[in-house]
């Protein structure tokens, strides 16, 4: 009998991290305010009590320093799990992530590996001030050497954080912050598929939605509404933005002939753009309409009172669904 418990995404990441720390004494957790406070979202709450200050500690407020020292610790044989407090604060570390972390294994011809995890609460919908609601995943998905993933359910959060920690490569782990408190079952015994495998989370026959992170929930809402109106939508949780599991998307498109890609990120030159391009390349004759993208507008993330107009919701997704099916 499987051991399944109900928990939130935040608690599931916490539980997964603890298990990773128990499994491997070289796993260290650090970042701003992660220790006593447990992070501003309390994702690491209680880890200090269980593991002590040699395993989890606060860093100075210096993101390049957090990632740069994580690289040095990885060179020394540690597996650092770092936290960047908010998506919009990752850029001071951009240099260390893209010119160093991503390249050191290749530069060293495999003599060094970089088992570093960067946890990033990302996305909007929480009414925050500027720089607290962004979706910067495309910058990292574009950079060779990095792996970029995002869990959308507690079960995936629990297992994917462990898979990220176990990876010898650097992993950007984007946490859908507005879903932190969303609850669901977590199977503590059996992991789901690998962290780069996309998953069909709702089966359907007329149109495929490919999405990830916080938009999985929104896309499922849209699919449920469409079902009431007699439209059958298949929803794919991509789970990984680099590499992208195109096979699962292509298989679905072969069945439905229609694809809408949904994410919170500004659509121009986005992960969704890459999905659209590759599907056009690999499944051209199966498509009955152009691939459509639904995402944030190509403007800076707006002030909080406008974010509900910026972010895709079920209606915006259904508008694209209608356009695709009417093509």
């Amino acid at each position: 009998m499987s051991n399944t418990v109900e928990m939130s995404i935040a608690k599931a990441i916490n539980a997964g991290l603890r298990r990773a720390m128990q499994d491997n004494p070289k796993v260290l957790v650090f970042g701003q305010d992660v220790a006593q406070l447990g992070g501003v979202f309390r994702v690491t709450e209680g880890i200090l009590d269980e593991f002590g200050p040699s395993r989890i500690f606060n860093s100075p407020i210096a993101e390049a320093g957090i990632i740069g020292t994580a690289i040095g610790l990885a060179m020394r044989g540690y597996s650092p799990v770092t936290e960047i407090q908010f998506d919009g604060f990752i850029f001071p570390a951009f240099n260390q992530i893209t010119t160093q972390l991503a390249k050191i294994q290749n530069r060293s011809e495999g003599y060094l590996s970089m088992p570093v995890v960067i946890r990033v609460p990302f996305g909007g919908g929480i009414g925050a001030v500027e720089h607290h609601s962004e979706s910067p995943e495309a910058y990292f998905a574009h950079t060779p050497g990095l792996r970029v993933i995002s869990p959308a359910t507690p079960n995936d959060a629990y297992w994917m954080i462990q898979q990220a920690v176990a990876s010898k490569d650097p992993v950007l782990f984007f946490e859908p912050k507005r879903r932190y408190w969303q609850k669901g079952p977590v199977n503590l015994d059996t992991p789901p598929a690998g962290m780069h495998t996309a998953k069909v989370v709702r089966e359907g026959s007329q149109l495929t939605i490919a999405t990830y992170g916080p938009m999985v929930t929104t896309s499922l809402e849209a699919a449920a509404i469409a079902a009431e109106e007699g439209t059958s939508i298949e929803v794919i949780d991509m789970r990984s933005m680099a590499p992208i599991d195109f096979n699962t998307i292509i298989e679905s498109v072969k069945k439905t002939g229609h694809l809408v890609v949904v994410s919170e990120a500004s659509t121009n030159v986005s992960v969704a753009s890459e999905v659209a391009a590759r599907v056009a390349e690999l499944a051209f004759y199966h498509l009955e309409a152009p691939v459509l993208r639904v995402g944030g507008f190509d403007v800076p993330y707006p002030a909080a009172k406008l974010e509900e107009k910026f972010l895709p919701d079920a209606d915006r997704i259904l508008e694209a669904v209608d356009r695709s099916l009417a093509f």
Binding site: A64, G65, G68, G72, E109, R147
Partner: protein
């Protein structure tokens, strides 16, 4: 020169090659007194080797054999002295001009030439050599050194009074790189974690064409103080000061004293790289001033005062000829790397894009063989 030059600095060997330990720096004398004649000869041999290598590499670049050369002429004392002060367990995080430090840690000089020819990014094993790969993006390596030193501390390899097993870390940066924010973040993380780390700043007076006054208004040895990293300035053209001061602070770091900074005042006698033209931004007078402080000539004067005779210098000259011949023949024999090399080690585990693109490129390349009918036409 500038006001910075009036700051006191540790000098144990003056430009005339006379050895003496000023009372203010008495603590450093014992490190020199522990040296044997063979050590002084080793310093000279490797400084001469480093300079000869530089001349040869410059010539190879001019002949089109290297894409770029990064000269370090004038910085031999700073690099060979500090390099030999690094202990057998210690780790070194260089910038990209540390060819002399590489010599002291057994890096095959051809590895450096391969990198500057564009064959690979260095290719040596950083764990095995304890000399990490060159860092091209300025000051990035200071944070790697700090993180490594944090790990050393977490491993309990500091402050046990066990010089065989304890270890410390040294990172090299230039005067220009001190301006990078990551250098400052490194000072902070090193100080708050009290890690076994020595910063060795080679202040060679220029960041490409920008004089050091562009990067700082206070002497660089003071740069770490506000973060909790004390510093000292040395005459970077004095190999004995470089050795003794580095040795002391590496020992102190290994024993748990925390990070320390050494500013070696030196001079880049050559260009920034083979693409640079120093005549556009510095004077002949200035070059002459520093020529009179040439670190290699200074050590030669010292050795002659010690009674080392001409045959030793002749041997070094002959070794230089041999090195030149070796470097030239090896460079001429270097082929291009196989195309699959660029796809290797991008990830540690299988990655669909990498596999797909490598397969495509191999097929594309092979298509030229088929079309030419005689193979290898491309």
């Amino acid at each position: 020169m500038t006001s910075q030059d009036r700051v006191p600095m540790v000098q144990l060997l003056n430009p005339e090659g006379e050895y003496g330990v000023p009372s203010a720096y008495a603590e450093y004398g014992k490190y020199i007194e522990a040296l044997k004649e063979e050590d002084f000869l080793k310093f000279y041999r490797d400084m001469a080797r480093m300079r000869r290598f530089d001349y040869e590499a410059t010539a190879l670049q001019r002949q089109g054999q290297l894409g770029l050369w990064i000269p370090a002429i004038g910085q031999e004392a700073a690099q060979i002295g500090s390099g030999y002060a690094v202990g057998h367990n210690d780790h070194i995080f260089p910038s990209y001009r540390e060819h002399g430090v590489a010599i002291t840690h057994g890096i095959d000089l051809m590895s450096i030439l391969k990198m500057l020819r564009g064959v690979n990014h260095g290719g040596w094993n950083p764990d095995e050599t304890r000399f990490h790969l060159y860092a091209i993006v300025l000051a990035t390596q200071t944070l790697h050194a700090t993180g490594y030193a944090m790990g050393v501390k977490f491993d309990g390899k500091v402050g046990n009074g066990d010089l065989e097993n304890d270890l410390a870390v040294i990172t090299y940066i230039g005067d220009g790189a001190t301006a990078e924010g990551e250098a400052s973040e490194s000072f902070l993380f090193a100080a708050t974690n009290k890690v076994p780390l020595v910063y060795f700043i080679q202040n060679n007076q220029y960041a490409i064409s920008s004089p050091v006054a562009t990067q700082t208004t206070v002497p660089l040895f003071q740069r770490g103080a506000g973060f909790g990293v004390p510093g000292i300035r040395i005459d970077g053209n004095d190999v004995l000061a470089s050795y003794a001061v580095t040795k002391k602070h590496m020992d102190d770091a290994r024993e748990g004293a925390g990070p320390h900074l050494i500013e070696a005042l030196t001079y880049r006698m050559g260009a920034h790289t083979s693409s640079d033209d120093p005549t556009k931004y510095r004077s002949k007078d200035e070059e002459e001033y520093w020529k009179a402080r040439d670190p290699l000539a200074r050590l030669e004067k010292f050795l002659r005062r010690q009674g080392i005779n001409q045959s030793f210098f002749d041997e070094c000259e002959a070794a230089g000829e041999e090195l030149s011949a070796y470097v030239r023949s090896e460079t001429f024999a270097l082929g291009n790397p196989p195309i699959e090399n660029m796809f290797k080690h991008v990830y540690s585990e299988a990655h669909p894009l990498i596999e797909e693109q490598l397969a495509w490129l191999e097929g594309y390349e092979a298509s030229f063989d088929d079309a030419s009918g005689n193979g290898g036409a491309h």
